[in-house]
Symmetry: C2
Subunit: 459 residues, 2 copies
Amino acid sequence: MADRPAGVLLHLGPGLGNGLANLHNARRARTPVVNVVGDHALTHARFDAPLQSDIRAVASNVSGWIRTSTDPRTLAEDGVSAIQASLDNGGQVATMILPADVCWLDAGDPARLPELRKQQRPGRPDRIEEAAALLRSGEPCVLLVGGAACRSQSLKLASAITNATGAKLLGETFPSRLQRGAGEVPLERLVYLAEFAEMQLAGAQHIILVDTSAPAAFFGYPGRDGSLIPDGADITALLEPGEHTLGTLQTLAGLLGVDESGATLTPLTVPDRPTGALTGEAIGASIAATMPEDVIVVDEGNTSGIWISGATAATPRHDWLTLTGGAIGFGIPAALGASLASPGRPVLNIEADGSAMYTLQALWSQAREGTNVTTLIMNNSSYAVLNMELAKVGAGEAGPRAQEMLDLSGPNLDFVALAEGLGVPGRRVESAEELCAALDEAYQVDGPHLIEVPTPPLM
Amino acid sequence: MADRPAGVLLHLGPGLGNGLANLHNARRARTPVVNVVGDHALTHARFDAPLQSDIRAVASNVSGWIRTSTDPRTLAEDGVSAIQASLDNGGQVATMILPADVCWLDAGDPARLPELRKQQRPGRPDRIEEAAALLRSGEPCVLLVGGAACRSQSLKLASAITNATGAKLLGETFPSRLQRGAGEVPLERLVYLAEFAEMQLAGAQHIILVDTSAPAAFFGYPGRDGSLIPDGADITALLEPGEHTLGTLQTLAGLLGVDESGATLTPLTVPDRPTGALTGEAIGASIAATMPEDVIVVDEGNTSGIWISGATAATPRHDWLTLTGGAIGFGIPAALGASLASPGRPVLNIEADGSAMYTLQALWSQAREGTNVTTLIMNNSSYAVLNMELAKVGAGEAGPRAQEMLDLSGPNLDFVALAEGLGVPGRRVESAEELCAALDEAYQVDGPHLIEVPTPPLM
């Protein structure tokens, strides 16, 4: 959210393990992260003490850059290198392994931190011209945007380009940060379910990628090819990681003779406040009707949240953050981080019950930091996404033990009690009116809030 | 607890990350674990889908054996190999990476599972004779026991050997499973604080290791050598990992002409039920006065639990499980596992507040499985162990921000609300009488219970 490197401090191999899932999501989001992992003193390594393990091996899973600092005199330079490395390759996790004695011994002089910026190589002219030729060809084109291309200015250019050329504009399924709402470009995203995504791409002859990868299914399934590229269609990448997304789109727009003024923008359309039962539609409308301008939405609603993105498309301008790496347990800590990085902006975390349980502890940190985060727990008492995936791998009817493993009842989780235990005021709502009132209050009263919303099962 | 391999099922690199801290503890405990990590279908790997990452790199941090199954026809054999490998080297984590399509394609014939046993090579005669010679020398010896040597029969032999030779018997700081209480050997363990451990070892000329490593401090500190070996003392390992601990001790005892009958055994001494304020002593006595026979104690009390081990030394026979790898967040899931592995035996989990918050979710699993686990939350509202360690690295007076980071109040955690939210009945006690009554009830009423105990600060 701040477009500056984030900082993480973890302790030894097990601490790094505890942070690995969300570092994985950060890697996929190309979020610049300086990940400091404390290690035993260099002089202590020979003892193979209980907490010792191969930190570098674990770090290699998520890091684009790793350095072990071995000399306090160059520690400050190591820090600068880590910060700069976090901005390379379009943004990555830079892990600095920091032995205890390198910290407690006398350090050298401070190092100078140069101006920080992501690598901003210009896009290659031949690729830009190739994309322009395809767009001008009159053949069915899809412009598939992701990553940095989901920011406001880039999206406006992408919209203008597709409007002018008749191409179809689509967004990747899980963008790191999508700017949307009234006055922004309406972006249809590829659907998580491969069957629907194939329909969205059907007929395309040329797919032009803008800061995203070739469309593929999230998982493989029996008897299905995981690629979502229509038969006979070709793939062209407009740019590579580390190239300047907005600048490259500007060049492309220039070649095609268009600018931002040709973009389609979303008109403001806020629904009436719904009443009555908490259907999926009513939940979506309740959220849309109450959303303040400039809210940051952290979406880990998973199967429970499928109506919400559509329902809120034309509400006041906002940011929408999604689960880029698929490692669940993202929402509550990401909402905390987004809030800390964006003073004054409200944060709405749409959170599935199963995913919430991975990192529920971050609610306490939200309370401690006094962050204005509203957590909506979408409680369907099941691992609905796993039920769906189990059906799709053709494993036949789930036996009673398998069914039990995918069920989150027995006992039911009481998220209001859990929130209170962590110092966050919580309430459960039973109707759309109650949900709207709870959202109003959460946005108006400082500090974190949690609202538990019973949601209908998906299947 | 079952002396059979444990099974773990995790999903892709992030899932393995979520399990890494306790797999680290299992590695240090030499617990045999078959760790199955689901991976993308082999045919899906080329897409670098969002959840893809280098699973093998992460697994190498904790695993003594890793295999990726690539053919359904040999899948059953891979499974047998993993189970057998988990028992090698005295017990280790065997990780089997299992692609989705290898699971859903037609498998070959089932494989035959041979009789499972840990490698039980006999100890080397020359080492055993060397140890016997040292013990007979009349020079000050310490017999330092750990691992499998902390089981009843081995401890009795170790006690008889030291009684007959005048050697000092000491135990490692964090044994995986110590059998203790009335009728068992009283074992003085090396203290976590290096200053005290040095006093315990002072004067030793020969240190003989039995299934443990040379004594060293848990962490390194400025100006201190991490070794705890007294100046001039030598170290002799009676056996290597994978050698038969009990058999080797039997051979040593035979050479020295002693047997189990020469062991010192603890007489039953149960304290009166204490009354009044919840001092450290009163908490220890409350636990000791109520402990049923055969209870399994999972000790992650950390700084809060230092009185409890001593207070319960002469209570009815029981097992005592400790944090072998130092990766906190061990107690609640280990108590669940110990209970599932030991039907009919009660489990008491002594759990520090800070550590509890790492893996609190396992309380819900305890409720779901109906396990007879009693969790005692030792709530001192601080990361006391970190306060202590900060003081020891000579970082000077902690600033306000550092102090904040080591404090667990603001807001205070309400463990009773958290337990109720997870489906576990909870209560907070304010006196020794209430603690005794709560423990009695927890042992008598089926299912899990949580008792929050306000504990005095250590420092």
